[in-house]
């Protein structure tokens, strides 16, 4: 079983501790990241999202086992929500990871969202850097499945896989609203349930409104230009991600795959669709663009955390300044916006 990707216990131990340090922003995390971000970014990052009950964990398990079976070293980051009251969490995704969790080239880590609304922990991008350093070929990020909030995964992933399931009724409509704009590949899980084919057709129909051509890679021709106006933000994002007929020679139309994560039916085809997308990205020069957007998102997150941090301390000049500002707002002497502008101007530390 142990192939080229197999991990030894000590390496896993070191990696795991580094992830904790980075997640906790504990002493020494900057040094750890400074090394990690200097390692070549090689891992393909696959984001998996979809409404609760779609069987994401089971599908991630099946895909992970599939990729590990082809000799890849695969890491899974399974993100679960945290309690808004205590900040604690019960992370239960391992329960469903029966097929992959024992494989020697698989690393599985449960991550608490730690209050992040986007369904991704603030540290996820940093953790991906650590996994790059540990020479993983692929990182699968499973999100909490909290509907629209999950679109944040699209910023972090090279390929976003959106999982639906037949029979969610109105829920699917609600979830689709956000998710239909982020998917590079769609999967309809529990493909053996009645209505699965109808769900595939429904999603294909929704895709057809924004995309021309056939699922997968299409050569750009005049006939492929749809009537959709290019002005909406969603449309512009799609053009950026999946090709603009005006400037690109090929376009990507997200395919919809029928799959049964439980039985494994359709899993190789789904993995193939993900790889086809990554292949198209690479041929059309998009990976760099994806990574740029990921780093931009992480920079913004890090920047905001760094700016806020001094004000969250219990003591120090910044905390005093903040307390003073609060008093002035309370006393109806200023507005929060004005007070913050003043704080930034003073740049207190």
């Amino acid at each position: 079983m142990s192939g080229a990707g197999a991990l030894d216990g000590r390496t896993v131990r070191r990696l795991s501790r580094a992830i904790s340090t980075v997640e906790d922003r504990a002493d020494g995390y900057e040094e750890i990241l400074s090394g990690a971000y200097r390692a070549p970014a090689k891992a393909e990052v696959i984001g998996v999202t979809g409404p609760p009950g779609a069987g994401k964990s089971t599908l991630v398990d099946a895909l992970t086992a599939h990729w590990a079976g082809t000799g890849e070293r695969v890491a899974v980051l399974a993100v679960d929500p945290s309690s808004p009251f205590s900040g604690g969490a019960v992370l239960g995704d391992r329960v469903r990871m029966d097929r992959s969790s024992d494989l020697p080239s698989v690393y599985l880590r449960s991550i608490s969202a730690r209050g992040e609304g986007g369904g991704l922990s603030a540290a996820v991008c940093d953790i991906v850097a650590l996994l790059d350093e540990a020479e993983f070929d692929r990182v699968v990020i499973e999100t909490v499945g909290a509907g629209q909030a999950d679109i944040a995964v699209a910023d972090a992933a090279d390929c976003t896989l959106v999982v639906f399931v037949p029979g969610l009724g109105d829920d699917i409509q609600a979830a689709k609203a956000g998710l239909m704009e982020v998917g590079d590949v769609y999967a309809v899980n529990k493909g053996d349930l009645p209505g699965a084919k109808a769900t595939v057709a429904e999603i294909n129909g929704a895709i057809g409104v924004a995309y021309a051509g056939t699922p997968g890679v299409n050569k750009t021709t005049a006939g492929l230009i749809t009537a959709q106006p290019a002005s909406s933000p969603g449309r512009l994002a799609v053009l950026r991600r999946h090709g603009d007929p005006a400037s690109d020679s090929t376009l990507w139309r997200p395919p919809v795959q029928l799959v049964s994560a439980r039985s494994g039916d359709g899993v190789p085809d789904l993995a193939g669709a993900v790889d086809a997308f990554l292949g198209w990205c690479s041929e059309s020069g998009r990976p760099a663009q994806r990574r740029r957007s990921r780093i931009r998102a992480q920079m913004l997150r890090t920047l905001s955390a760094a700016l806020i941090a001094p004000y969250q301390q219990n003591a120090g000049q910044a905390a005093e300044d903040l307390a003073g500002s609060i008093e002035r707002v309370l006393a109806s002497a200023t507005s929060p916006a004005e007070a913050v502008a003043e704080l930034i101007r003073r740049g207190s530390r």
């Binding site: 964990s57 239960g92 995704d93 329960v95 469903r96 439980r262």
Partner: protein, 581 residues
């Protein structure tokens, strides 16, 4: 009182009216006014001094009033004829049989098993000698989960929580010198391996030369609750339920006097659901099995008498009585109204119970009285097959001394104090009838919710069951931690755990002897016969036919439990656990 007994149309959906409702007239209104006066003038001044801090709410969530009067019966529209009737007659509230404990008292039963068959056989003989009338074999976890004693998954668990049984040879040893017709009933749980344990008892009867009609086999054979509560599930829920029904169906044709399925509230309640919700989930499971068997073309009058239920309420004495009475009433009505049952046996629910108290590790001898009270409640509620916990059960496999105390406790309840001298002695109590009504409402409401969500399989698949159970378990823990639920020696007059060094030890040689016997069986059996029999099991399983005849043949040929289950795993796959916490 004749006013209360007057026949009145009963409306199940009738709301309990507010005490201050002014529409009532005549004696009821006078009584309500009198009770209000009593509360004000006599009760309140006294309660101000004496009433304890905690709220008076049962574990299943019913509020307990300080006093019950005829007005409470009036408020629920109590109707003697429609609600109670007579023992052994519809709706069977007062008992499933006419004479109840005045005729043949409840069956004194023992759930026992440890180590390997030879040592365990001695224990069975001892129990029978002390007066056990039914033996339910406790199997070890590898056996219950479909692994032979030499399987890697069986490591360290062979013989630990029950006796290891891998083949018919183990059963022969286990019942050596104990003819199956020498005790009232015999059986085991076998929830995930129902057809196999059924076949083992059927083949054992053949070996002992006793016709199936001359002994009674009782199985739990209720796989659906394993997925939410007990955890020995092997296959996905649907095929597991199908196999369980195969065992029942075989009995319809071959051993209609057997009792091949016991639908359990016990583990669901203990896991946190509370007795009313637990009963509703168990009823949904029962409906699932019944629907499967009826879809095979059998009549409800053939099928229903083969099922009984394992009721459970271990926190509250009176709720326990009420639960059993309400459950009999619900069952009778459902069998008649939903399925068109006509035979009394198809409407009269027999019940198994396992007497428990809120047992503690602190001063464990106190558990004897706790368990006795819990058991007494079940007997007063009209249970038929009574098991009882041993006082040291919370700490380890019970030893002989504590088993003996347990059996004697049952015998005391059966014969002393006059507990068993009249039928349904608490019937008609204002409190017990109010509780019976309240519990019945809770069960029916929860069952309605479950049926709306899609029934038994949805409870498992969508994680509803586990979610509700976790919430309930957390609520119970908090009630104990906060002292709201009093527990003597734990949160009242707290003591350190003081379990003496008497834990019963499984002889480490047992597992070695068991594996040796298994390997001897494999070496000596007719391999060609085993292969042919296992091929037939595979064919029957794959074709969807009843697997029991082929399993019986395989068992006769000394095919092992693990070999048969491996075929099922191969065809149906493993269960996929819910991530619901």
């Amino acid at each position: 009182m004749t006013r209360m007994l007057a026949s009145r149309r009963r409306d199940l959906d009738m709301e309990v009216p507010d005490e201050s409702a002014g529409q009532r007239s005549g004696p009821a209104a006078e009584l309500i006014a009198e009770e209000a006066r009593w509360r004000r003038e006599t009760f309140a001044p006294d309660a101000a001094r004496a009433e304890r801090q905690r709220g008076f709410v049962t574990d299943c969530g019913l509020e307990v009033k300080p006093l019950y009067t005829p007005a409470d019966l009036d408020a629920i529209g109590f109707d003697y004829t429609a609600d109670l009737g007579f023992p052994g007659e519809f709706p069977f509230t007062r008992g499933d049989r006419g004479a109840m404990n005045r005729g043949e008292p409840f069956v004194v039963s023992a759930y026992s098993g440890f180590g390997e068959a030879e040592r365990c056989n001695q224990r069975f003989r001892t129990l029978i000698d002390w007066g056990a009338e039914q033996i339910l074999v406790a199997l070890d976890l590898p056996t219950q989960c479909g692994y032979d004693s030499d399987h890697a998954m069986a490591t360290a668990e062979v013989g630990q929580v029950g006796v290891a049984v891998s083949s018919l040879a183990d059963m022969e040893q286990l019942f050596d010198g104990i003819p199956l017709d020498s005790i009232k009933r015999v059986g085991t749980l076998g929830n995930s391996i129902g057809p196999i344990v059924l076949a083992l008892f059927a083949a054992l009867g053949e070996k002992q030369g006793i016709p199936w009609a001359n002994y009674v086999v009782n199985l739990q054979n209720d796989p659906l609750k394993e997925y939410i509560a007990r955890g020995t599930q092997i296959l996905p829920a649907e095929p597991a339920a199908k196999l369980a029904c195969d065992a029942v169906e075989w009995c319809i044709d071959n051993a209609p006097n057997w009792s091949p399925m016991t639908v359990c509230v016990n583990h669901i309640n203990a896991g946190g659901a509370g007795s009313s919700l637990g009963t509703a989930i168990a009823l949904a499971n029962a409906h699932y099995y019944l629907d499967d068997l009826l879809a095979r073309g059998h009549s409800i009058d053939e099928v229903a008498p083969l099922l009984h239920m394992f009721a459970d309420e271990r926190h509250d004495f009176f709720v326990s009585v009420a639960n059993l009475r309400a459950l009999r009433r619900i069952w009778a009505r459902r069998m008649r109204e939903r399925y068109g049952a006509t035979l009394p046996a198809a409407m009269a629910l027999r019940m198994t119970v396992y007497g428990h108290g809120q047992e503690s590790l602190q001063e464990p001898l106190n558990n004897i009285s706790r368990i006795a009270f819990g058991t007494l409640a079940y007997v007063l509620g009209g249970a038929s097959y009574v098991y009882i916990a041993s006082y040291d059960e919370a700490v380890s496999t019970p030893g002989e001394q504590s088993l003996k105390v347990a059996l004697r406790t049952q015998q005391v309840i059966a014969s002393e104090h006059g507990f068993a001298d009249t039928v349904d002695p608490l019937g008609g109590s204002y409190y017990v009838e109010s509780l019976t009504h309240g519990v019945e409402r809770q069960i029916l409401d929860a069952l309605g919710m479950i049926e709306e969500k899609g029934g038994a399989l949805a409870v498992i698949r969508d994680g509803i069951g586990r979610r509700l159970m976790t919430e309930g378990a957390v609520r119970r823990q908090k009630a104990i931690d906060s002292g709201q639920r009093p527990w003597v020696t734990v949160n009242q007059r707290p003591q350190k755990p003081d379990v003496a060094n008497t834990a019963f030890r499984i002889d480490p040689g047992a597992a070695i002897d068991q594996v040796a016997r298994l390997q001897r069986v494999r070496a000596e059996r007719d391999e060609a016969r085993v292969s042919a029999a296992l091929a037939a099991v595979r064919e029957a399983t794959a074709s969807g036919a009843n697997v029991t005849p082929s399993v019986l043949e395989a068992v006769r040929a000394y095919a092992t439990v693990g070999e048969i289950v491996e075929i099922w795993r191969d065809i149906f796959g493993h269960f996929s656990p819910s991530t619901e916490f």
